[in-house]
């Protein structure tokens, strides 16, 4: 298995910035030759995380800042540190991410709230810290394990 040197990407926040960041990030992972499933896991977890930053940390597009994704490849997978300078997480901690029930009437089917459920389900060791002006989210993705 190829070993990937640590890398970092930084993008100015906007909705299309998430696509841009995902493309850059997956491109940087190419030497690892991830399976479709592994690449899907990485893309989904990172998309949900970055969408949350765009939507909740930087709710005002006029004052939106940057976000940074730093990645190190270790024996137990990819360790990610995602940083932004937006609003802090409510309660100072990550949501539990419960899956809304789908055993309900048509009109009551959930149209949102899946984001944290997917992150918590697919990523390991998810941890949030507010350090000064920074939101710092760390997690591990158990892909490219060697």
């Amino acid at each position: 298995m190829a070993h990937l040197p640590p890398f970092e990407i930084s993008v100015k926040c906007s909705e299309l910035a998430v696509r841009d960041a995902l493309e850059q990030f997956l491109h940087a992972l190419q030497p690892l030759q991830l399976s479709v499933e592994e690449a899907g896991t990485v893309e989904l977890v990172l998309a949900e995380t970055l969408n949350n930053i765009v939507e909740h940390a930087y709710p005002d597009p006029d004052t939106a800042g940057d976000f940074t994704v730093a990645c190190t490849h270790q024996k137990d997978g990819l360790h990610l540190q995602i940083t932004d300078q937006g609003l802090a997480m409510p309660d100072g901690t990550t949501p539990v991410g419960q899956c809304a029930s789908v055993d309900v009437d048509l009109d009551d089917l959930p149209e949102g709230g899946f984001g944290w459920f997917l992150i918590q389900g697919l990523a390991k060791d998810v941890s949030y810290q507010r350090i000064g002006p920074d939101n710092q989210l760390t997690m591990r993705l158990a892909v490219a394990v060697h």
Binding site: E15, L16, V18, R19, V36, E37, A39, G40, E43, L44, A47, E48, N51, V54, E55, C99, V102, L106, D107, L109, P110, E111, G112, G113, F114, G115, F117, L118, G121, L122
Partner: protein, 112 residues
């Protein structure tokens, strides 16, 4: 948002001609789906065979499109690629829709 729509033997078939249904286009997708399905046959088949990725916003938009059909009409999904299928499985939304691995399979089943 490119959608290609045709009506065939009591089915409205909507093919999504995009690689992604994500947060950047979720609203646009929802609006375009409403236009394509506001009248016509009771069963809508959403062909996702070209879509390589959806996030939770895209999933929410597909659910919203189904809900807007109302209780009398149905939406089936066809041609889910691996990552798209996994999002439906993880959220158990695959239990809410009829899911077919190919569009041909969906048509064969639903036209009888």
């Amino acid at each position: 948002m490119q959608l290609f729509t045709k009506t065939e033997e009591q089915l409205r078939i909507v093919s999504v001609k995009e690689d992604r249904i994500d947060a950047a286009v979720a609203l646009e997708f929802k609006d375009a789906m409403r236009v394509e399905t506001e009248d016509g046959p009771d069963t809508v088949v959403l062909d996702l065979s070209q879509v390589q990725f959806i996030d939770s916003s895209g999933l929410g938009a597909i659910v919203a499109a189904m809900k807007s059909l109302g209780a009398e009409r149905k939406m089936a999904l066809a041609g889910l690629t691996p990552t798209v299928e996994r999002v439906f499985q993880l959220t158990r939304m695959d239990t809410v829709f009829s899911v077919f691995s190919t569009l041909d399979g969906a048509l064969a089943e639903l036209q009888h």
